[in-house]
């Protein structure tokens, strides 16, 4: 038991070392800034400007979009670059599990997503009258969503033989349609039943629901279900990422 705890602590230290190296190396890359910051803010502005909706009600949308795009963009910048330069081999030859390596990479995406999505919260609270009704729901929303979306980016980035540009294409092919089925612009309760069922399957639905709930709004599926679905997606994406890496190791 003592040995397992020691091993766990060691793996956590290594995951943090990987994350902090990735933060230093990749946060300021043009691809990270473009897909992680400019993209969600531009999308938000293009859909929100001119709409007759109070800004305070739109803050949860911006929080969700920044969490979604920023967190899921870091993995696709890091992993293909490292595989191209063969620096990813360093992780495969180091005495830690593949899960630890991917957790380190995921953590870099989590911190990027959380760091950027804090901005709309602060702006909303300071200038547009938003108030945090449930700090726990906000923390769960940000933590779990960032984790899930970062793991999603890692899963896409782990597909065999892809460059950063090649990863972003299929990722955006999934990310952009998710915006329209996740109750971002039309709340879930106003959708027809078939669309509500579809939106349940989207992880982004549960992020926007939790964000609305945390800022005093309503959640259609309930915060507990939102949290369970986001946690399940996190586990699923990590497993898919590991599976892809094992496939790569068999092919290389």
């Amino acid at each position: 038991m003592k040995l397992n705890r020691g091993r766990l602590v060691r793996e956590m230290r290594v995951a943090w070392a990987i994350a902090s190296k990735d933060m230093r190396t990749y946060y300021t890359r043009p691809a990270s800034i473009m897909f992680g910051i400019l993209f969600p803010f531009s999308l938000f502005l293009s859909f929100s400007v001119g709409r007759n909706v109070p800004v305070a009600l739109q803050i949860p949308i911006l929080i969700s979009q920044t969490l979604f795009f920023a967190s899921s963009s870091i993995g696709p910048v890091i992993i293909p670059s490292e595989r191209m330069n063969q620096t990813f081999d360093r992780f495969l030859t180091s005495p830690v599990s593949l899960l630890t390596v991917l957790m380190g990479k995921t953590l870099a995406g989590v911190l990027y997503g959380v760091g950027i999505s804090v901005i709309p919260i602060l702006v909303g609270v300071a200038f547009f009258g938003s108030h945090v009704a449930s700090l726990e729901a906000l923390a769960a929303c940000m933590g779990l969503s960032a984790l899930g979306f970062s793991a999603m980016g890692i899963a896409f980035a782990s597909m065999p033989g892809q460059s950063p540009g090649q990863v972003m294409m299929p990722l955006n092919f999934v990310r952009i349609p998710l915006l329209f089925i996740s109750g971002v612009y039309i709340p879930v309760k106003e959708l027809p039943p078939w669309a509500q069922a579809t939106s349940f399957l989207s992880p982004l639905t549960h992020t926007i629901e939790l964000a609305r709930y945390a800022l005093g709004g309503e959640t259609f599926f309930g915060p507990a279900l939102n949290i369970i679905v986001l946690a399940a997606y996190t586990a699923l994406f990590l497993l898919v990422g590991i599976r892809f890496h094992i496939m790569n190791q068999r092919k290389e």
Binding site: V14, R24, M84, Q86, T93, S94, S97, G161, Q162, R250
Partner: protein, 338 residues
């Protein structure tokens, strides 16, 4: 665990679709030896190293490092090794110091020790003065030295070196070879792949020659040379070589092959005395003047050529001789670069 051998490989196989890159190879590396792994491009050297170090999963067979199976106990096996791959996979955005410290963190080396070790290695490799500069501005040889220093951060028992001196400047080659020797004297087991047969002959305790994914021979350099006593040669240099000298010399009795190397001609034969006589007759008849005459025993290069059918100096310079495996890998890298 007290293992008898540093590396034990049994029936190790790697297939890429229909291509068998490594074909049921088996060998053992003793603790504390420098083991050379030689072969032409695409023979399966790098694929073997990648399987031994856990980067690639074998299609068949087993490999253990200091008694730990790389597939079943990967963490323990990887704790025993340091790796220098064929490409210097350093972080160009970080300094030499940060590269070393990050590597140590991957192995969970304690802070105080990793800092003193990094200082020691940077001094050992002559990089201390530039340790805080990003590697973007470093030469290829300097990056190679950083890469080797990174492999030594965890004080491993085995060091895997894949073509460590390939394409480097003379100063870097000397530093790297001296370091390898010194580390081996301190008890480190070295697994070395190289194209440089002279390097292998001088440095390795034992050598395995791999060709088409199969081990063609394993022995000490001297024993390998003795196995091929029939491959002897006479080396001559003319003061003013006549045109078509290589063709003329190739027609002399008992000469099996002529290889021109710089201003010298090397005449392969199983009977050096009779070749010396006929060469002397040729020189007299053409009124030529000899500058050098040497009779040579078989070199490791000769053994290599005999076993693989490829002359290394040609193989390493002609891109056209690359195997489909290497070409495929290179194509993959280029695709990623686009």
């Amino acid at each position: 665990m007290q293992a008898q051998y540093a590396i034990e490989v049994s029936n190790l196989t790697k297939k890429f679709g229909d291509l068998v890159a490594v074909d049921h190879i088996s060998f053992k590396v003793k603790k504390g030896e420098i083991f050379g792994f030689l072969g032409p491009n695409g023979a399966g050297k790098t694929t073997t190293i990648r399987m031994l170090t856990g980067i690639s999963i074998p299609t068949e067979g087993t490999a253990s490092i200091m008694g730990y199976d790389i597939q079943r106990e990967p963490v323990k096996a990887k704790e025993q090794m340091g790796i220098v791959p064929d490409i210097s996979n350093v972080y160009n955005e970080l300094s030499a110091w940060d590269n070393l410290i990050f590597t140590a963190k991957l192995y969970d080396v304690p802070k105080a020790y990793r800092e003193s070790r990094a200082e020691e290695l940077l001094k050992m490799f002559g990089l201390h003065d530039r340790s805080r500069e990003k590697l973007q501005g470093f030469s290829r040889g300097m990056k190679r030295r950083v890469c080797i220093a990174m492999a030594l951060m965890n004080q491993s028992s085995i060091l895997f070196l894949d073509e460590p001196t390939s394409g480097l400047d003379v100063q870097s080659v000397i530093v790297i070879r001296e370091t390898i020797r010194r580390l081996n004297e301190q008890g480190l087991t070295i697994f070395l792949t190289t194209h440089n047969l002279e390097e292998a002959s001088q440095m390795c305790d034992r050598i395995a020659i791999i060709n088409h994914g199969r081990i063609a021979a394993i022995d000490t350099p001297e024993k390998l040379k003795r196995t091929f006593e029939s491959v002897q040669s006479v080396e001559i240099a003319f003061e003013d070589p006549p045109p078509n000298a290589a063709e003329d010399l190739g027609r002399l009795p008992r000469v099996s092959e002529v290889v021109k190397s710089g201003d010298k001609f090397r005449l392969y034969t199983d009977d050096p005395p009779s070749v010396l006589t006929s060469t002397w007759n040729y020189v007299q008849s053409r009124n030529l003047r000899l500058v050098t005459v040497n009779t040579l025993g078989p070199s490791l290069e000769d053994v290599f050529v005999k076993l693989t059918g490829i002359r290394p100096s040609v193989a390493s310079h002609e891109a056209g001789t690359r195997s489909s495996e290497e070409t495929k890998r290179e194509r993959g890298r280029r695709r990623l670069n686009q």
